[in-house]
């Protein structure tokens, strides 16, 4: 399938250039002194633009000639084994390359407006560049080790970007949480890697293709799936993503919607051949649970970004579900479409937040700029934003003629095909799979109704007539591009047929005909739209205190559960180990290893320093032992003699008897 063609040198160098330019952007941003931080904005924008052009041209070329290639060079080698750095371009890569570079470039562009005036703008752009580099590396990597390297680096840049406003305690906490959750997944990923290594002896994806099926594969792939769970925020590690919304909104768009979180799905698709049916079942179940939880939670959120975050979660769950049902192509398709419309939604939300923030700045009034309860009727104030947001929202909710409809369709198709005709537990998953688009519709339009329709609550809060400013051009521009990308033609020329040109690159054997599911799903979402209109159109959001809504609001109290089952025990454990260290290990060693007395005297010697408890008790015991050995040398000579003679007697008895 993969043909190495020497002639394709051009694509190779283009790809490598596309990969390295963001890195150069990062390095430049690090080197350029603080005074010239404005230079950074320009350089990184330019570099990213070039990178994007290159990536797109590579993709287009390869899409045309199907000349997949890979190059590799030895990174380091142990005596017999070599670890390589290599890139491999195949259909998945080709799909992902433009997505990452385009979204990244747009986010860069957007950020020049959004982040204007931020004091750490240099650092911000540096990390954006670094992230793009890592993400591209992740896509291009031809072996699992390298993939893991970039996988981690992506996590690191995410950490840095979430924590960008480190003055905010919440941002710090969120970034830490994100990294640690990722790390938990990564540990699993690493175990999976190692199992593969130990059994197959290679990391190279190509050579892994030729490995026969072994019993270890289920374990290995499940471990790899742990990495996915962490990175793509699947159940049970999903709560970091909503928290990660503390980062700047463009970052959320880039990392936590379009690219990084999707990397998990990408990985699944890429390693799909390794997964055994048993593992896939787990994958499907996890995906379903995630999607359900997230979409239910999204229904009651009030923070605009959080709603989007939960929506991302549910979409990711949906994709994972797709992979689990044996259709990585569908998942990739959804990933592709999702990247654009979700980025568009986030950037749109960012635009709203930006303008509200400006407003807040002007009026010197404080209110929560991200709370949808403070918004309303923005349709008139921010028309461009409204339209783009609407288009992207429609794509998200899967209305026909939008890209989301097609990709969702593909997934639903594969789910039904997978479930088969016989009734089994798999039908629960099918039902859920159909419930999810419905829910998606509900929360999407709930959001849209609240934000853009109805009366303008912001004015009510501020209490005066204010002038809303539409966001600057550099910010509007990406919105428009992204919303255009959310239309159907990006997937397929036929708005009802997902087997478009994109799907071809992914799958060798396209299926034919408009399936029943397509029709059903179209009707289904329209029904949902109607429901949402009647249910949410004019309803104000009162903070509901009902148990159910609280449950959903806190996304089933997963965080609380973690606290109870992980954080608290770990804290207890650390306290315990500390105590063990001071009291037992030290105490034990104080008491016995140095044969009691020694340390008794150390301690009596230093006792004024050792105030910590525990040790003292030991010391006293040991000290008394010491004084016993001494006491019979008190000063009574006749007693001495007695002891000496007694010693002789003991020797005599012990030897004679």
């Amino acid at each position: 399938m993969v043909t190495e063609i020497i002639n394709s040198n051009w694509t190779v160098s283009c790809t490598i250039a596309a990969l390295c330019l963001p890195l150069i952007s990062f390095i430049l941003a690090c080197i350029i002194p603080n005074r010239y931080s404005w230079v950074v904005t320009i350089t990184s924008l330019l570099l990213l633009f070039v990178s994007m052009i290159m990536a797109c041209s590579v993709s287009l070329t390869i899409l045309n000639n199907h000349e997949y290639w890979s190059i590799a060079t030895t990174w380091f080698s142990l005596s017999k084994v070599h670890f390589t750095v290599g890139f491999h371009v195949d259909s998945l890569t080709v799909l992902m390359l433009p997505v990452v570079t385009i979204v990244s470039f747009l986010v860069h562009l957007y950020s020049t407006g959004y982040m204007a005036g931020d004091k750490n703008v240099k650092q911000y752009f540096a990390m954006l560049g670094f992230f793009t580099f890592s993400m591209l590396g992740l896509i291009l990597a031809d072996n699992l080790l390298l993939l893991f390297v970039f996988w981690e680096l992506v996590g690191f840049s995410s950490y840095m970007l979430i924590g960008h406003w480190y003055d905010k305690p919440a941002a710090g906490a969120a970034s830490k949480k994100a990294f640690i959750f990722n790390r938990i997944g990564d540990a699993g990923f690493l175990i999976g890697l190692m199992i593969i290594w130990a059994n197959a002896g290679s990391f190279n994806l190509e050579s892994l293709h030729h490995v026969e099926i072994y019993s270890w594969q289920t374990a290995a792939t499940l471990c790899l799936f742990c990495g996915v769970i962490g990175k793509s925020a699947q159940f049970p590690l999903l709560t970091w993503l909503p928290d990660a919304m503390e980062g700047p909104t463009p970052v959320s768009a880039l990392i936590h919607a379009a690219t990084m979180v999707a990397a998990g799905v990408y990985l699944l698709a890429k390693l799909f051949f390794l997964f055994t049916p048993e593992a896939l079942q787990v994958v499907a179940i996890i995906g379903t649970i995630t999607a359900l939880i997230a979409s239910l939670s999204a229904l009651v959120q009030t923070d605009i970004k959080k709603i989007l975050a939960y929506s991302t979660l549910s979409q990711l769950g949906f994709m994972v579900l797709a992979v689990g049902t044996g259709s990585p192509q569908a998942a990739m398709l959804h990933l592709f479409t999702h990247a654009f419309f979700k980025a568009g939604l986030f950037l749109g939300a960012g635009a709203i937040i930006h303008s509200l923030h400006q407003l807040e700045h002007h009026t010197h009034q404080h209110f929560d700029v991200q709370d949808i309860r403070t918004m309303g009727g923005l349709r008139k104030e921010l028309p461009v934003t409204f339209i783009t947001f609407l288009i992207c929202g429609a794509a998200l909710s899967g209305l026909p003629f939008f890209s989301g409809f097609l990709s969702k369709d593909a997934i639903l198709n594969s789910v039904t095909a997978w479930a088969g005709t016989s009734l089994s537990w798999k039908w629960f998953i099918v039902i859920s799979a159909f419930a999810i688009p419905f829910l998606t519709m509900l929360y999407t339009f709930r959001l849209i109704w609240y934000v853009f329709f109805g009366e303008n609550r912001t004015k009510a809060i501020i209490g005066q007539a204010v002038k809303f400013g539409e966001v600057p051009f550099v910010m509007r521009m990406p919105l428009i591009i992204l919303s255009v990308c959310s239309l159907w033609f990006i997937v397929s020329p036929n708005p009802s047929e997902f087997h478009g040109w994109l799907y071809h690159t992914l799958s060798v054997t396209p299926e034919d005909g408009i399936s029943l599911t397509t029709v059903i799903s179209a009707g289904w979402v329209l029904l949902a739209l109607v429901v949402s209109y009647f249910y949410f159109r004019n309803r104000s959001i009162e903070s509901s205190t009902s148990a159910l809504s609280q449950l959903l609001y806190n996304s089933f109290y997963l965080d609380k559960i973690y606290e109870v089952i992980i954080t608290v025990p770990v804290n207890k454990l650390t306290a315990l180990t500390e105590k063990i260290d001071i009291r037992w290990v030290d105490g034990f060693i104080h008491a016995t290893v140095l044969v009691n007395v020694t340390l008794a005297h150390v301690i009596s010697w230093f006792d004024k320093y050792i105030v910590d408890g525990g040790v003292n008790g030991m010391a006293r015991v040991a000290g008394s032992v010491g004084s016993v050995t001494r006491s019979f040398q008190g000063g009574k000579i006749q007693l001495y003699i007695f002891w000496a003679v007694l010693g002789i007697i003991i020797f005599l008895i012990s030897m004679l008897i």
């Binding site: 142990l78 981690e152 305690p169 906490a173 830490k176 199992i195 130990a198 306290a575 180990t577 320093y609």
Partner: protein, 539 residues
């Protein structure tokens, strides 16, 4: 010249110490320049060595002179030599030692209290560390090994923090306990081993290379591999291995013999902490690789699961304790415990990957821990306060410092791109592979070890969150004006380390070229000898 480079490396600091002895104590600046100068001279020698070294497992730069030869009458001749040499195992460590000593010396610029004594001790310590790395004669090794203790004892005890006396005594006693265990084995070994090169009378030799060859054992001697001596139900050779393991493990340090480390680190002045963490700990791992494994291969194979278990326990336990630490230096010290657990795990796997990883981890940890302790020192220099809870939001106050801290912390928690990642990956490769290659370590052990990665991330990030994030505020009796960002002299010591850890993280091959042949050789030797000995015992 070529042949005396190692001796020059050892004796340069000693010579400088001797010169310093005759300079009146009032001239404070002289001692600093003298010590730094000596380190620079060493650096020149090191470069000469590195250029002259040919990759491969063989010994190079060997110097071998008779040291002690005593005729013991009926039971032969006792022979100890001045025998030094370099191979893939100790070259990286020597190459680590020299720059780290230079950095530690430079970082000692601010020492005020009895400067003369301080630098003399530092120079002696320098010589002893290099000596113990290059010595190939057990007695010589032991001499240098013990000789490190006294300068260290005084460096902690005189120039340390408020509980310095306690810490120094604890350090000394622990290490001495360990070295006594080593001494016991050493005595047993040299009595059991004869020098094959000397004909005629039995020559008891301290030569480590002879010790690791089973044919050199006097038949029916106490540690003769072909003759199973037993004490109670214990095989003597296994017992000897365990003694060595504990002896070096104390130095490493491994749980539960680690408690000297936090105390010593917390109390020691910054440069001494740097040396302690970056260099002294390595001697434990070095000893295991140099002595314990080659000399007792079958015992090592027999006990490997135990070594691995202790390694894993150290990883987890150290990390948990680090999480509980309230003192920055203590946290870093416990993280050292955790990281040195990887060394044990790697060694225990007895695979090329694992052993290479362990060796790589030693170098990497040497660089990173030096960096971390210098980082802690920066803060301590400014405020005399290392309590984590007393700081908040430092990132906005000292952005460059924050940058360096980030690099240090993430390097330590094993982010790709830093040397720690390469080392840990290789250790894991070895640990997971071990089960299928030689069946020494159960996979579950390796799986548990990955928990260490998560915990590592947790305690470092938590620290960052507490100290650097959030709005700026400090507690205690410090004021914000005491917290300027990094100054030039601090860059001088910090930057080389940052660059080194990056370099070895991105391009590990040069170091692996040194390490790998030895690791391969060691694994081959251990496995083949271990099997040979094991089979002769069964017959």
């Amino acid at each position: 010249m070529q042949h005396y480079l190692l001796s020059l490396l050892i004796f340069t600091p000693l010579l400088a110490a001797l010169i310093a002895l005759f300079i009146p104590a009032e001239k404070k600046g002289v001692f600093f320049s003298l010590a730094a100068g000596a380190c620079f001279v060493q650096l020149v020698f090191l470069v000469m060595i590195l250029t002259g070294y040919k990759a491969g497992a063989s010994l190079q730069f060997v110097e071998q002179h008779n040291w002690i030869t005593i005729d013991l009458g009926t039971w032969g001749v006792l022979k100890a030599e001045y025998f030094v040499g370099l191979d893939g195992l100790n070259l990286p460590l020597v190459a680590l030692t020299v720059p780290i000593m230079l950095i530690a010396t430079l970082a000692s610029y601010s020492i005020q209290k009895s400067v003369k004594g301080y630098f003399i001790l530092l120079l002696i310590l320098n010589a002893a560390i290099i000596g113990s790395f290059v010595a190939l004669d057990f007695l010589l090794f032991y001499f240098f090994f013990e000789f490190m203790l006294l300068p260290m004892f005084f460096l902690i005890g005189i120039w340390g923090g408020p509980r310095r006396e306690y810490a120094s005594i604890k350090f000394f006693l622990y290490t001495l306990l360990g070295s006594i265990l080593i001494l016991i084995v050493m005595i047993g070994l040299y009595i059991s081993v004869q020098d094959p090169d000397v004909p005629g009378k039995i020559t008891h030799t301290f030569n480590m290379l002879h010790m690791s060859n089973p044919i050199n054992y006097i038949s029916n001697s106490i540690l003769d591999p072909n003759h199973a001596w037993k004490i109670g139900s214990f095989d003597v050779r296994v017992l000897a291995f365990v003694f060595l393991f504990i002896g070096f493990g104390i130095k490493l340090p491994m749980v539960p013999f680690h408690t000297w480390l936090p105390d010593a680190h917390v109390e020691a002045p910054t440069p001494v902490s740097v040396i302690l963490a970056a260099l002294l700990l390595k001697i434990g791992g070095y000893g295991l690789l140099r002595i314990a494994y080659p000399v007792f291969p079958e015992a090592a194979l027999h006990m490997s699961w135990f070594v691995g278990l202790v390694g894993v326990i150290s990883i987890i336990y150290g990390a948990l304790n680090a999480m509980a630490s309230k003192d920055l230096k203590r946290l870093i010290a416990y993280s050292s415990v955790s990281h040195m657990g990887f060394v044990l795990l790697g060694i225990a796997s007895v695979t090329t990957e694992g052993v290479s990883g362990a060796m790589y981890q030693m170098v990497s940890h040497g660089i990173i821990s030096a960096l971390l302790f210098l980082i802690a020192g920066v803060l301590y220099d400014r405020t005399n306060d290392r309590m984590i809870s007393n700081y908040s939001g430092l990132a906005s106050k000292m952005p460059m410092y924050f940058g360096v801290v980030l690099i240090g912390f993430f390097a330590s928690l094993g982010l790709p791109g830093f040397s720690g990642f390469i080392a840990e990956i290789m250790v894991f490769l070895g640990a997971f592979k071990s089960h299928s290659v030689n069946g020494l370590l159960p996979t579950s052990l390796a799986v548990i070890a990955t928990l260490g990665l998560i915990l590592g991330a947790a305690y470092y990030l938590w620290t960052i969150q507490r100290m650097f994030f959030g709005p700026f505020s400090i507690k205690g009796n410090t004021s914000a004006s005491q917290l300027p960002d990094l100054i030039r002299s601090e860059y001088v010591v910090l930057l080389p380390l940052v660059l080194a850890t990056l370099f070895f993280g991105i391009y590990p091959q040069p170091l692996l070229d040194f390490i790998n042949p030895y690791a391969q050789y060691l694994v081959d030797v251990v496995i083949s000898h271990g099997k040979v000995i094991g089979s002769t015992l069964n017959h």
